[in-house]
Every structure is written in C-alpha cells, then in structure tokens.
C-alpha cells in the first residue's frame, strides 16, 4: 500500500465519526426540513404537498419581517459588546500588573457553564418586576422599581446583558490563548520605538488578533441571530412581541400553533439569510487574514 493511499485511509478514519454525526444531526434533519417546507404538515395527520405556498406566505408575512428585523437590530447593537468586552478582559487578565488572574478568569467563565435556559430563568427571577432581587435592591436604596417586564427597552437590555455575560468567558479564553501566542519581540520593538500601553494595544495587539476577532465576531453574530433559550427563560418574547426574535417566531409557529410546514419554510429562508451574512463577514474580513 502506498503512503498516499494510507494517508487517505487515515484521513477518512478521522473524518468518519464527525461525518456520521454531521449526517445524522444536520444533513438528514436539513433534508427533512426542506421536504416538510413544501407541505402543510400540522404535526399530526395532515401532510399534503402544497408547492411553494409556504414560501410565498413567508415573504408576505409582516409578523415574520418584524421578528427578523428585530433580530438583526438586536445583533447589530449587541455584537460590539460581545466582541469588545472579552477582548478587553483578556488584555487585562494577561497583563503582568494584574493580580488574582486565575480567580478572575474562573469567575468570568462560570456563566458559560450554565445552560441558557437556566441562566434565563435565574435572570427572570432577579429582574421580576414585583418580587425580583434587582427591584428590591433599588427600592432599598430609595429608588422606584423599574418595569423590567413591561418596557421593551428595559427587557431587551436585560436579555442583552445576560447574553453577553453568558459568552464573555468563552471568548475571553480564546483571546487569552491568542494573546499568549503573540511574540514578545514585537512588543519589545514597540517599546524601543517609545509606544505606550494604549498605542501597543491599538497598533500591535489588536491587528495581530484579527483572525481571533474574526472568529469571535462570526460566532457571536450567529449566536445573536439564533438567540432563543435565553429569551424564552427571561421574557418569553414579551412584552407584547417586543423581544420575539426569529427563532421564537419559528418555534411559536411550529410548536405552539401546529404549523410545522410553515415553520420549516421560515427556517429554510432564515438559514439561507444567516449563511449569506456569515459569508459576507468571511469575505469582508478575508477569513481573518486581512491584517
């Protein structure tokens, strides 16, 4: 057996486990999803082929557009925080001047270990309007309780903070790994040139972390566009439909209203749009190799 042929076999042996899982948990559901999107499947006995009727309906559905654009705005507003906070924390926690770094990293990482739904329910309890911890503290300090549950802006802020809190630890660890791999020679050269800490960050650290920043941006974007469990735990899409994002809308149509066929059509369209967004990000940043 030639070396090339043996390498091929080894390659497929390594690929096989993830390939099987990818097929079972992604390709087959995707295929079924596409088939169902051309039917009026109601989750029970009705499943007739109806052509592209579901897709036409999606494109005329005002509620879908509202939920979709709400998701986009939520993503655009939150993305800078999702990327910047872990980066700044990573820089801080790799500095030789900071103490208790391990403890701080551990504390920041703990929320990553919690399930989004558990986190959501905990946050919901903390921000409960009448009996929540946060309003209790505000009242103890002489303030008036805030309408966390009935004001769209406040409800969105709560979700946003919780969402950022949940991912900060993970992205911070990725950044720390990358920072530790940066060559100290470059920093020494910058010091010789008289650069201060801020200048070193702007001119050296940030550009060299571009591939990592691209990765974090891409993952954060997809995370934000797909935000579901956290919202379900905190606001259930309310007040009104103020925090009903795309995935809530799909879930509601499918599982609460029994319109599985329609929900799968929305999923197919949304998947294509999300893939385009990721592709544009990839091309714009040249896969993180821009710098």
């Amino acid at each position: 057996m030639s070396k090339n042929s043996r390498n091929h076999r080894v390659f497929w042996l390594f690929i096989a486990p993830s390939g099987v899982l990818f097929t079972i948990f992604f390709l087959i559901p995707l295929f079924l999803n596409l088939i169902l999107s051309f039917t009026n499947y109601d989750g029970w006995k009705q499943m007739d082929f109806i052509g592209i009727e579901n897709y036409v309906r999606v494109l005329q559905d005002k509620e879908f557009y509202s939920a979709f654009f709400r998701s986009i705005i939520y993503t655009i507003v939150n993305l800078p925080f999702k990327v910047a906070i872990p980066l700044l924390l990573a820089v801080l926690l790799t500095s030789p001047k900071v103490r208790f770094k391990t403890l701080a990293r551990t504390l920041i990482y703990i929320p990553v270990l919690l399930s989004a739904l558990v986190m959501g329910i905990t946050i919901n309890w903390m921000f409960s309007q009448e009996y929540g911890l946060v309003n209790f503290i505000i009242q103890q300090l002489g303030g008036s309780p805030l309408e966390w549950g009935s004001n769209v802006v406040l409800a969105t802020i709560v979700i946003s903070v919780a969402s950022t809190l949940m991912t900060t630890g993970f992205f911070m660890i990725i950044y720390i790994g990358s920072i530790n791999n940066l060559s100290s020679d470059i920093y020494e050269a910058a010091e010789i040139d008289g650069a201060n800490s801020v200048q070193k960050f702007i001119s050296v650290t940030f550009p060299l972390l571009a591939p990592t920043t691209f990765l974090v941006t891409l993952l954060s974007t997809i995370d934000l566009l797909k935000e579901y469990a956290l919202v379900q735990g905190v606001t259930q899409g309310g007040p009104g439909t103020g925090t009903t994002y795309t995935i809530q809308y799909i879930f509601d149509k499918g599982f609460n209203q029994g319109e599985y066929g329609y929900a799968t059509a929305i999923s197919a369209i949304v998947m294509i749009v999300f893939a385009i967004i990721a592709y544009v990000q990839f091309k714009t940043n040249q896969g993180g190799e821009k710098y």
Binding site: W44, E130, Q236, G237, G238, P239, G240, T241, F255
Partner: protein
Amino acid sequence: MRGFLLTLCSVLFLSFITACSSETSVETNGANNSEEADGGILKILLSEEPSSEDALNNSFKKWAEETGNKVDTIVIPYDDQITKFPLMLKNDDVPDLVSTTRLTRLYPEEFLDLTDVVDIGIFDQAALEIIGQDYDSDSNLALPNQYTITSYFYNADAFEEVGIEVPTIDDPWTMDELISNAQKLKDSGDVNYGLAVDFSRGRYDNLMYSNGGSITQETEDSFVVSINSEENVQTLENFVEWNETDLMPKVIWTGGSTDNPADYFKNGDVGIYLSGSWEYSPMYEEITAFDWGVMPSPIGSLQQSAIAGGGGLGIPSSAENPELAKEFLEWFYKEDNYVEFLAQDKGISFINGVTYEPEDEKVIADYEILQAEMKNVTDRFLVDEKSAWRNYLDSEYRDVIKRAVSGELTAKEALDVFANDLSEKSDWEIAN
C-alpha cells in the same frame, strides 16, 4: 498495529451498542415483573406535579392501595399536552388515562367512548358538555374530574381598612363600582394594585361577555366571527386603560414576565383577583396573613358573567391497559369515593345530588357564592364553546390582547387582526 486499533474500535463500538440495548431491556423487564407480581400498572397523564393535597392524586393513591394496582404518573402541563400527545401516539407509548382539558376535543378519534363505562346519567349535564366540549355527537370521550367556575377573590382586611362593603349574591356590584372600589383600594396604599386578572383569555372573556360581546355568533347553519364588535373593542380599551393606569399589575398582561397574579394576591398585594374556583383550595391552605373571601361577579353593561370549565379523564384508544383505566373510573365515581374526593377538592360538584358540605363557616359562605356563579354562565359563552373556535386558533387570541396591553396595537387593531385570522382559518364570515 493498525489491525489492532481497528479491532479495538470495533469491540468498543459493539460494546457500546450492546450496553444501550441491555439497559432498555432491563427497564422493560423490570416493569413487566412488577406488573406480574403486584397487579396492573395504570399509566396516567396529569397536568401538574401532584402535591399531597391534590384530591385527584389522593384518589389514585387510595384506589391503588385498595386494589393492589400501581400508578405510574407522567406530568405534562395542559398546553404542552397538545404537542406531546401526538408524539406519544406516534411512538405507541400512550398513557392509559389522561387528565386533560383539550385532548379529547383535538384528537377525538384517538379516545374511547366512555358512555357505557359508567352511568352517564349521574353527571350534571352542563358539566358533561362543557368539560367534554363535544356538542355534535352522543359520545362521551372525557368524564369530569374537575368542574370549575371563574370567580372574584377579595382581600377582606383591605376592604375593611378602606370601608368597602362586600357585594352579595342579591346585590352584586356593577363593573363601574368594582373599578371604583379597586381604585380606592389602590389609593389607600393597603395594596399595590386594586385588581389583578389571570393571564388567561378564560378570565378576560368574562369582561367581554358581561358587556354583551362574544367571539362568535351562531347563524342558521354555521357561525360568524364577532370578536371585533364595537362592544368588544370598548371592553379591551377599558382593560388596556386599567393596565396603563396601574390599577392592575401591567406586567401580567404584557407577557414579558412569568409573574403570577395568584402570588400577588396571596402576598396581600392585590385587592380583588379574578381567577377561578380551582384557586380556592390552595388559597385556603396558604393564606394565613389576612382574611379573604369570594364575591359575586360584577354586572357589566349587560349582565354578570362567569365561565365554567374544568378537566376530564379520557382513555386513549391505543392505551395498553384500557380495562384498568375503566376500573379506576368505575371506582372513582362511586358515591363514597367521590364524596371524599370532593371534600378535598373543595370544588363544584359535577355529579347530580352530591354536594360538598363544608364545616367551616367561611367556606360555607364562599361555596354558596361559587355555586351561585353557575347561573351567570352566559348563552354567548355556550355558543362560543359550541363553535369550537379554539380548534382553529387558540393562544393567538391571548397574544393579540397582550399586544394591545403592551401598546403595540390599539384595541381595534388587535381584535381586527384576530377576527381576520379566525375568519380565514374557519371560513366563517366576519359579522357586520
């Protein structure tokens, strides 16, 4: 070396598969063995985790003790049952007996007709119809296990503090009086909110029916949609205003929180609470910090309104042990067993001639009001039930009310949206 690794991987994979298979087999054998040894296992589906005070659960326990059978409980909330039950059917893993509010209406072909299992004549006819929700056939797919009526609870201590006289069956308040007194309660500072209403269309609809509105109207051979009528728009506008002015806790009906108005009442933060008779027993056990009671429903622009409902027990056609489920039903509806159940449930009786006779003076007075509310079930509610509009749309109705309260839509826009959707789904025209 490569051969050894491949062999090792194969052995590990096969071991994993075999281990998974063995686990299933052990579980199955375990269940079968206990069935053979101790009698049958009745697999039941309940809507909530049974507490030690739960009357139905205690009936199951007593039946199991008396007959030597076992009860295996699955808990799925009513709303989730709608999506989970079809999956159970597909997997051929259905319970023998279900406690439900809607499954028999949504999947009638999947349930046994219980007409010959027990003497149907023993039941209150209205209870049987309202709980069975089947107005078109003679079959009985769900037999009652809970008969409920919506009711207004009041904080007696707060009433006394403000000097408000409690309305009586013979002299109920008007809706205007209720709102005015709720405002007084709030203004006094004894409670945070004058009025709270469960986040349920079943409670909100009382306001609509009492003002002469309805969701549908019956025509000669069908129904028309009347949810966006002028009186309904006015009712919703009033409801939104009560929320806007903080007479009610707005967060309950905007849907951005899981706050439960029952907790508000139990904590003494609400003066008047529109809920239902099913809350009576838990409140009786839990509220010790203040006196409270039940008062008659107020008269809207047309009349008083109460909504009757409840839960029923049904046997799926593909159940493994339908005979055991039938045995339980026969046992449950025997007078002695039913009387014991009713005393614990403190609910409305659904069997003719059997009533709950409380000993506590307070409970006697409250129970009299709850029973009297039965006469306030309106004809328009019964027409809406007969139309079975909820087979077309259900939670969407509460969602549009939620959007009106949160300010996303005006009352008229919200009801127009729902009227159009219901009309489209049901093929019923919208009433002029």
